[in-house]
């Protein structure tokens, strides 16, 4: 019961919690109890606090010894930085969007900070109880954020669909945890791993429990056949929230699935590779083929997100250190490409919040800068060299070819890359060769330019000068196998 030991592991989370409380109090004070106080101050406090915590996370060094509370290894630290950076981007993204929140602006940053706190906890969990509570903290706040524009039926619809699917996923997860506990008598990852390693023949109850846990996490990841919520929720949720969902929530699923697959399931890894590869193949097919007929940018990005989940699952099926580090790299590349894409969507959809693809027609004429940013983002997502997305895909496939059993999935993924190239290029065609449908003035603020610039530069730099990040990703992944 050593307090300093807990704070050692969960220090960032504690400060995030404090930050959220400060935000609520600040909202109460500045809003003077009104329904919608001025939110600029609250948002600035939130961004300042997150920036400080991001710096703190970069200074933090991993704890030497693992404690039973949780683990603060390089892997956890990598993802904590990732999550805080994502939250910071989300808040920056919400600035140009905020005029569209008709009320309750002050609570938005607080809810985002709560979600971030849960995500950071997920990066360090080492037992199923903490896992469940942290995951609920993430999902419940995301439900609220998805339904945040409750004046819009679409947003409510997204919220309700998300709640129902989220509840089903949580039910799978808890039921699985109950089976795991019932068969091993342990809620710690270490204990379950030991139970798996101890016997040659794993009890069916334990396998069943772990299967349900994996299913529960696959919902988070948006992998087929647990993907049905993705397009609807992505389309209906406020765009900054969709960006947060597509990057943060997916990464939360990734971090848990990686811990589970690479450490807990380590002793029986071989048996699970087929299942993960099957999910990967289905996600690749469904995501890429589903993206082609889409007419709404956010829905389109949702399907593309399913396809990317497929790629991440290939890496998990491989279960080598190389594949784990490839996932980390891939997530960072995905972060920058997605944030840029969603920011362009926010600007282009303007006040009516119409994200139909027509709105990006002729974007190159109206704003060459936005068109450039979206081009880089699409090419990075498609995996075209010399952008970061290419390196990510390359690293995953290089790790995957080492395992001959995965050859069919690798071939499928190569075919699907070609398919994805088609629909990403269709977006480019719309931007450069079509006449504009919407001729209104695009409001591009200074912060918008700055974020887009950061994302574009990062996508290019990481595509050419990728070594530092690859090294960092390898360090992070090594902790899982250490």
């Amino acid at each position: 019961m050593d307090t300093s030991q807990i704070l050692n592991v969960f220090g960032i989370e504690m400060w995030l919690g404090v930050l959220a409380l400060v935000l609520i109090v600040a909202d109460l004070i500045t809003g003077r109890g009104r329904l919608t106080g001025p939110a600029d101050m609250v948002r600035l406090v939130a961004m300042g606090g997150l920036a400080v915590l991001l710096a703190y996370a970069f200074m933090l060094s991993p704890a030497e010894q693992a404690s039973s509370w949780g683990t603060l290894d390089t892997f956890a630290l990598f993802f904590k930085r990732f999550f805080i950076a994502t939250a910071l981007f989300t808040l920056l993204l919400s600035a140009p969007y905020e005029a569209r929140f008709t009320g309750g602006r002050g609570e938005f940053p607080a809810l985002v900070v709560f979600t971030t706190m849960g995500m950071c906890m997920l990066a360090s969990v080492s037992d199923f109880v903490t896992l469940f509570v942290a995951l609920e903290l993430v999902t419940v706040t995301l439900f609220l954020l998805a339904a945040y524009r409750s004046g819009l039926p679409r947003s409510i619809e997204a919220g309700i669909k998300f709640v129902i699917i989220g509840a089903v996923a949580a039910a799978f997860l808890v039921y699985g945890i109950a089976f795991v506990y019932g068969t091993t008598g342990s809620l710690d990852f270490e204990g379950v791993r030991a139970a798996l390693a101890a016997t040659d023949e794993v009890p069916k109850g334990l396998t069943f429990g772990l299967l349900l846990v994996v299913v529960g996490l696959a919902f988070k990841l948006g992998a087929v056949p647990f993907h049905i919520w993705v397009p609807d929720v992505y389309q209906g949720a406020p765009t900054p929230v969709t960006a947060f969902l597509s990057v943060g929530s997916k990464a939360a699923g990734v971090v848990l699935l990686m811990r589970l697959v690479f450490t807990v399931l380590g002793p029986v890894a071989g048996q699970w590779a087929t299942l993960l590869a099957g999910l990967a193949a289905l996600s690749l097919l469904m995501g890429n083929l589903g993206a082609i007929p889409q007419k709404d940018m956010k829905r389109f990005l949702g399907y593309s997100g399913i396809a990317h989940a497929g790629f991440l699952l290939i890496a998990m099926a491989v279960q080598s250190e190389a594949s784990a580090s490839a996932v980390l790299f891939y997530m960072v590349a995905y972060l920058f490409a997605n944030i840029a894409a969603f920011l362009v969507v926010i600007v282009v959809s303007r006040t009516p919040d119409n994200a139909h693809m027509d709105r990006i027609n002729g974007l190159a004429e109206r704003s060459p800068f936005l068109a450039l940013a979206l081009t880089v983002s699409m090419l990075s997502l498609a995996g075209v060299p010399p952008f970061a997305g290419f390196v990510g895909k390359f690293l995953i496939l290089r790790a995957a070819v080492a395992d001959p059993a995965l050859l069919p999935v690798v071939i499928l993924s190569l075919v699907m890359i070609v398919v994805s190239l088609y629909y990403y290029l269709c977006i480019l065609k719309r931007m450069y060769f079509r006449e504009p449908v919407d001729t209104g003035v695009l409001e591009i603020t200074g912060s918008t330019r700055l974020i887009l610039l950061v994302c574009v530069v990062a996508s290019v730099v990481l595509g050419i000068y990728f070594n530092p990040l690859v090294v960092a990703a390898e360090k992070g992944a090594a902790a899982l196998f250490g």
Binding site: I24, L28, G33, R34, L35, G37, A39, E98
Partner: protein, 133 residues
């Protein structure tokens, strides 16, 4: 030991049996002893007893009820956590007291938020929002 623990619940079981049998016997007795007349739709109709009902008996009611109910559940869950702590209060000592104070402090801010934002004000309309700019 386990037998003893369950014995505490014996009164609950007896109460349950008593309730079920009381209700069951009454229903059964009224069925067995009561007189029965042939049913007649005309006799069941409302005759010179006011208007035929225009609408369903159940009606939608204000969203405030839901807010109160939801907030009640949230604070109810909070209280559930107090219960095991109260039982072991002495044995757990200072550390758990601080933990509980943190827990309650966080939710106190939630309560403050609810009160300050007027979510439980029944009579006043929600104050009109002051927009950002």
């Amino acid at each position: 030991m386990p037998e003893n623990a369950l014995n505490d619940y014996l009164p609950v079981l007896m109460l349950l049996l008593f309730c079920v049998s009381f209700a069951g016997i009454n229903l059964l007795a009224s069925w067995a002893l009561g007189k029965r007349a042939p049913t007649n739709p005309d006799k069941d109709s409302a005759f010179e007893c006011g208007m035929q009902p225009l609408d369903q008996g159940r009606q939608r009611f204000s969203v405030r009820f839901y807010v109160v109910a939801m907030l009640f559940i949230l604070f109810d869950v909070e209280v559930v956590f107090l219960y095991p702590w109260a039982i072991k209060y002495k044995a757990l000592g200072m550390f758990a007291l601080v933990e509980m104070l943190v827990f309650l402090g966080v939710l106190f801010i939630g309560w403050l938020y609810v009160v300050k934002k007027g979510a439980l004000d029944w009579n006043t309309q929600p104050k009109p929002g002051r927009l950002n700019k």
